[in-house]
Symmetry: C2
Subunit: 534 residues, 2 copies
């Protein structure tokens, strides 16, 4: 079962996050976003980065202008385009010119390989389509470009008319395309259907690549099946972004090839960056991270069941398919209402508290379960968990006390403003301050930090880096109980606190309050923090 | 490439959403939630519903008590448990008793099949583990139960010690287990590794099942590979819920088997409910819907690129791998800044507006692009798009005017309250009202609807069924621009409106205002709505 193919002499990891990935519903990338993502992909060391379609839209054209300033150390930039118009010549086709002008050494053009798409969508003849492939590839080669050809709808085309689909592969290869990519554009393939088709295409003598979409939930597996059948070039996107169900997820394809097949495609130190790169790309693309994402997800090596937790103490490797550090991820124990004492004890150890006392551990476990029943979640908020633990142990400091707070929002002559008033006591001195903000929580954050800064100036440099609201009982609109998670950063460290309530402002206030208390006793005045007796 | 195995005489779809699915980080199901989900699964018609582990925790025990009242029409309920303790007897083992007392005809027990897990985690001998399997299965059969056996860590166990792993399968089968399930508990398998192992296990003569996790991104494909190798029972969860990366997603496995393999496992009318069921389960489980989810995702048959849109007018089937109605989903055209005029025109048609005038269509397209640049998104808010369109066409009614609004939130003696004041004019009459709420937006919603109800009583029955807030520039904490989406329902129809701003209250107000205006001219006083001149 562990027999795997040997790595080809030449093998390409071709990232199309910036081109095909950007087709995803709700995903929009500015030129600046694309440049940042290209930087991450180069750090990781993918072979090729497809940047977009110069000439098709202004942003993509601009990207290639600004990309000239990028000093890529590991990856090569690719411009995407199409075969020239029917009845024209590549030499005079404006889009082909824009493609050349993009100034990349590598160009990838899409060609139709499904007969019906040629006759009905493109509305030209099968012969003219072949001529368009030959002419465009030949012209681009004459301009000194390396050329890849994406055969669009290849697998559906092969099913409908195998001879014609193969003739497009042959035409591209004979005209000088260095790789001809078989595209499952509609994403309908299954892994066991891949081998025969890829082998048939290989008969043309072309170097083959694969481009899969996830419409059957098999994009990663289809890509591996094509590799096993001999392709030397895999296309995909980070985090599986793409139109409809997305493209093959390179953050799963790469670890599968490198760890499961044992192919060293990236230096191991780079592979260990793949989780960070995947998350950084999600951040720039403004996409939520999927905890369940293979290899790189926050939950992918997280253990919840009390059952497991006790056994994991014996040997973690009995419960994980790879060492998570290979991909820069790590094993996490989750505090949750399914947890037994074992989880709580392991978690306590990690935080430096001795919970070996069974009764104490049981008490903490009970309290966690009660809070989680209310809607709190400590799985993702260690700071709040440590505060709960310290409270239970009588080790929770109170750097300041709140007397009262109020916030209002109104429209004044067409402008919306939020204003908060906060009264607190810190180090024996009372402070009452007012703060403005973009919104009520922002105003409360400003007012509260201003009030506390008199006693603890450092809190002025605390930064609220993430704020998320989650409805806990969907379908109740604004009546729902909400959970607020806040990430606060200070001098390179970040901590997460949680607040719960039916009033989003109240829940936010709770999370803000905990964030400041935790930050103060952890990073500003550690002397405030009583250590565990253990 | 289309050769597929023929459907076995007996084939099981075994859903473990309520047991293994509930292990997912952040997923918590109450007894009531589990009963509702079981109802949906029965409607769809899966063969088996695994409800939980009676005796292991009070909630699961309670589920089986209350489940006796469920009148399942299509599915059979299964209680999950484990082999009896080492050194004990099944007849006297309290957990085995709890399992029998659950009162289901079908029981699934987990058995260790990896030698190291037996000796190091379970800390017993390999022989005693076999004895535990035989004794427990035999005892349960004597109680008149149908028994399934999950072989935990089977694939890792087979790699470590094939003889032992197979001996566990044999012991279970010989003791009377009707199906022995091969579990890829750590999820490290690849599809091409499946065939040999499943074939080896088949040599024991046992009826085989498969249970996959998604740690390599191949859970669905691994499941299909096992089916191709001859298993007659597939386990999975809806939407792929489960520990770490989750389990095989039945909402992809079922359509793959039924549509791609051509096996009629469910009546076609039931298969057409799978999208609804998948979404209903997500709602009860309080999990966000993944737009990219194969077959059932909101984006799975959505087309964005202007390139496609024009060709889709020719024949949609050239651009989709199946007819989306087979799974109760549908093809959508997305309005987006990557859209050409074609999308806008198709969308306009769907809404009953004639945008064949190129200049008009271009003007609307420009306006959509400008708004989307600000952060608006019309992909998911058709109501706001129609209002934009009507505004551009001079066909947007104004059922009421807002003079001013204000909302504040404060803590009064330990209690947090939100209070909103709204002044409006409708049908010539001015109204100024105050409303309270769980939070500022809730208070504004109450005040605004109360004010308008004087002129349009029906709005009292409008229900705000969903409210979601999205940060548009992550990493800016509460300073970020936010997008608010609001779903409003009235007499069975639901519409979505969008609001954008740096102030979440302002953005929410905009979405609330549009929701009421749209609802009034669409559902309450259609005579207010001027029709398109076209």
């Amino acid at each position: 079962m562990t027999t795997t193919p040997t790595v080809p002499e030449e093998f390409h990891i071709f990232d199309t996050s910036l081109r095909d990935g950007a087709q995803q519903e709700g995903l929009r990338l500015s030129v600046a976003d694309k440049l940042r993502i290209a930087g991450y992909l180069d750090e990781l060391g993918v072979t090729f980065i497809e940047g977009g379609w110069p000439g098709a839209n202004p942003a993509d054209t601009q990207f290639f202008v600004e990309a000239k300033e990028l000093e890529l150390r590991n990856s090569k930039l690719v411009a995407f385009g199409a075969t020239r118009k029917a009845g024209a010549t590549a030499a005079t086709d404006p889009l082909t010119k824009a493609l050349v002008d993009a100034g990349t050494d590598y160009i990838c053009i899409v060609a139709k390989s499904h007969d019906e798409h040629v006759t009905r969508a493109l509305r030209t003849t099968l012969d003219e389509n072949l001529e368009m492939v030959t002419d465009t590839v030949t012209y681009l080669r004459e301009q000194g470009k390396h050329v890849f050809v994406d055969c669009e709808h290849f697998f559906d085309g092969y099913r409908a008319n195998p001879e014609y689909a193969l003739s497009v592969v042959r035409a591209a290869s004979e005209a000088g395309a260095e790789v001809v990519i078989l595209c499952d554009t509609n994403g309908g393939m299954l892994p066991s259907w891949m081998g025969d088709v890829v082998s048939a295409a290989a008969q043309t003598g072309a170097n083959l690549g694969i481009h899969c979409h996830n419409d059957t939930g098999c994009a990663v597996a289809n890509t591996l099946a094509a590799v096993e059948a001999g392709v030397m070039h895999v296309q995909g996107t980070f985090n599986g972004y793409g139109e409809r169900t997305g493209n093959a997820d390179l953050s799963a394809v790469i670890p599968n090839l490198q760890i499961k097949f044992g192919w060293e495609l990236l230096p191991p130190a780079n592979l260990a960056e793949i989780t960070r790169v995947s998350h950084a790309i999600a951040l720039v693309a403004n996409q939520p991270l999927l905890g369940r994402q293979p290899y790189v997800g926050a939950s992918s090596f997280a253990h919840k069941a009390g059952l497991h937790a006790s056994a994991i103490k014996v040997d973690a490797n009995l419960y994980q398919h790879i060492d998570p550090t290979l991909v820069g991820n790590d094993m996490r124990m989750l505090i949750s209402d399914m947890a037994g004492r074992a989880n709580i004890q392991i978690k306590g150890d990690q935080l430096g508290f001795d919970l070996s006392d069974r009764e104490l551990a049981a008490r903490v476990t009970e309290r966690v379960k009660a809070k989680e029943a209310e809607g709190y979640s400590y799985e993702s908020s260690d700071a709040s968990f440590e505060m709960l633990l310290r409270d239970e142990l009588g080790l929770l400091p109170q750097p300041f006390q709140v007397t009262s707070w109020r916030v209002f929002t109104e429209e004044r002559h067409g402008e919306t403003i939020s204003e908060a008033t906060v009264k607190i006591t810190a180090k024996g001195k009372q402070e009452m301050v007012v703060g403005e903000g973009n919104g009520p929580v922002n105003a409360l954050d400003h007012a509260l930090r201003k009030a506390i800064a008199a006693a603890y100036p450092a809190v002025e440099s605390f930064e609220l880096t993430d704020y998320s609201v989650r409805l806990l009982d969907e379908g109740h609109g604004t009546d729902a109980t909400v959970r607020v998670l806040i990430n606060t950063s200070y001098e390179g460290s970040t901590w997460t606190t949680v607040g719960v309530g039916t009033n989003v402002i109240e829940a936010s206030w709770e999370a803000l309050f905990d964030a400041l208390v935790y930050g103060i006793f952890t990073h500003v005045e550690p002397e405030l923090r009583p250590e565990t007796a253990a």
